[in-house]
Amino acid sequence: MKIIVAIKQVPERDAQVRIDAAAKWIEESGLQYALNESDAYALEEALQLKEKHGGEVVVLIAGPERIGPTIREALAKGADRAIAIDCADLGKLDALGVARLLAAAIKPENPDLVLTGLQSDDLGQGQTGVILAELLGLPHSSLILHVEKTDAGLTVKRELEEGWFQTIELPAPAVLTIQSGGNKLRYATLMGIKRARSKPVHQVTAAELAVDAAPVVVLERVALPQKQKSTQILSGTPKDAAAALVEKLKFEARVL
């Protein structure tokens, strides 16, 4: 089974984000980056499928120079090789533009399965995988917690709202977007980190992939959310704050 996992590098979850001077995006200098969380689950699912059925796991990523550590992390966890699309201004593309880049890199690989996380932690659009399927002409399913290879193709467990699930059968090759929590994530071992150094990383530029990247949707402005609710912040020592809170809950909100 040849599995391609499309991953993204995003600002670290706890990073303090500041809006940039043009109010078009966030200030990227000094920011720490990490592998997008649901993409980590997609990679884990791919690695487990490979352990069961053999084959190859290829990670695919697009971004500027800083994506290096994220590629090495994926390789150290067990991916066999990587395809890195050098794209300095990924943020200027819309979801279709990004998916076109990824699809152009995936096509010549003819994978049996394409996985990606269900959404990125920065833009949170949750569209890349579904658009990829459309561009590749493959069937897809989203919010997947479990993947099983069958003789006919794939059987997957899809998450629905409010605690419901659904099983879906689909032929391979297919594109699946993976929801977090389906598996336990592995850590890279020392051996894995060592091995990662000699694994192949194929570099390709966005220009070489020659896709139409003119956006149809533009992010014009980034702003802090306006406060809609007046939140009473209780300060002081932990003891004072706790006492003040209980007081408020009892006599102001009357819920204790």
Binding site: V217, L234, P238
Partner: protein, 327 residues
């Protein structure tokens, strides 16, 4: 190009609340653009759904109907709506941002050479569409720049279903649109939906809930949280990452993929407040947030907040609650 079309979604045989919210978003957009709002229902048999929509006299209703649309599939819905949109040439198509819409609307948009502006929370002059970025820490304003149809989906709770206004016109015209779909074009085979493990915890009815999130850092801090819950007589709930890690069972998850709660008091400990969690706590009467990050979006949703370290705050809060109970 003709007007604004809202694609309504069926929930247990009726139009779901979030779909009415999408109609309100459509009416907001109509006020800005001067266009008329119309509705689409889709399925194998849509007469009762269409009647439910028509009764509100919002505008015209189209029943997109085909036997192969009986069960939702991304292939079926994408094909049917693609054909409808190519015929009708709407200026705007609005969807409720449900798991189902997330599964097909991006592909539908791509097939039309468009990009869905998903999870919209506000619509302003332009029109400019607001959606959250960076897990709710920032808002982004998006503009559609192509001349094709503009597809958007609206976030649950962002628009108020109560503001639904009847159109000035008389009775709505209901028509049927029959897409052509070949069985071979539907590549996925869905099962009936099912519940996970037996639900033994019903958070939906709990009056007091203490929710715990990623900020707890370590599973061995859970007893400390349980003590607070016990002192309050509260149920323990969690945000998704805690259940993903297996620290608490999935049935204690609060949010769009878990349970929707409406307690008297909800205390969120170390929960940053991603939108998936916030939609699950909207019905809470009083929300308390305790988090070390003063910029965490959970404070937006809270009546009372304390910025600080959980390990220090939770034990003293437990003591304060116990002391108050003895008074």
């Amino acid at each position: 190009m003709s007007g604004i079309w809202v694609v309504l979604e069926e929930r247990e045989g009726r139009i779901g609340r979030i779909s009415w919210e999408a109609v309100v978003a459509g009416q907001k957009l109509a006020a800005l653009t001067g266009l008329a709002v119309n509705a689409v229902v889709i399925g194998a048999q849509t007469d009762t759904l269409a009647a439910e929509v028509a009764a509100k006299t919002l505008g015209n209703v189209v029943r997109v109907e085909h036997p192969l649309l009986a069960a939702y599939t991304a292939d079926g819905f994408t094909l049917a709506l693609q054909q409808f949109i190519e015929k009708e040439r709407p200026a705007y198509v609005i969807f409720p941002h449900t798991y189902q819409v997330r599964d097909y609307a991006p592909a539908l948009a791509a097939r039309l050479g468009q990009v869905l502006i998903g999870d919209v929370t506000a619509i302003g002059e332009g029109p400019v569409f607001t959606r959250q970025l960076m897990q709710g820490r920032l808002n982004g304003s998006y503009r559609h720049t192509s001349d094709g149809p503009c597809l958007i989906s609206v976030q649950a709770g962002a628009f108020r279903a109560e503001e639904l206004a009847a159109a000035a016109t008389a009775a709505a015209e209901v028509t049927v649109f029959s897409p052509s779909i070949d069985p071979a074009q539907i590549r996925t085979k869905p099962s009936e939906r099912f519940r996970g493990a037996a639900q033994t915890v019903d958070l939906t009815a709990a009056q007091m809930i203490v929710g715990v999130g990623r900020g707890i850092k370590d599973a061995d801090k859970l007893p400390m949280v349980q003590e607070l819950a016990t002192a309050l007589g509260a149920e323990l709930g969690a945000s998704r990452p805690i259940c993903d890690n297996g620290w608490l069972p999935m049935e204690r998850q609060i949010g769009s993929s878990g349970q929707t709660i409406s307690p008297k008091l909800y205390i969120a400990l170390g929960i940053s407040g991603a939108i998936q969690h916030l939609v699950g706590i909207k019905g809470s009467q009083c929300v308390v947030a305790i988090n070390k990050d003063p910029d965490a979006p959970i404070f937006e949703a809270a009546d009372y907040g304390i910025v600080g370290d959980l390990a220090e705050l939770v034990p003293v809060l437990t003591e304060a609650v116990k002391a108050a109970a003895q008074q």
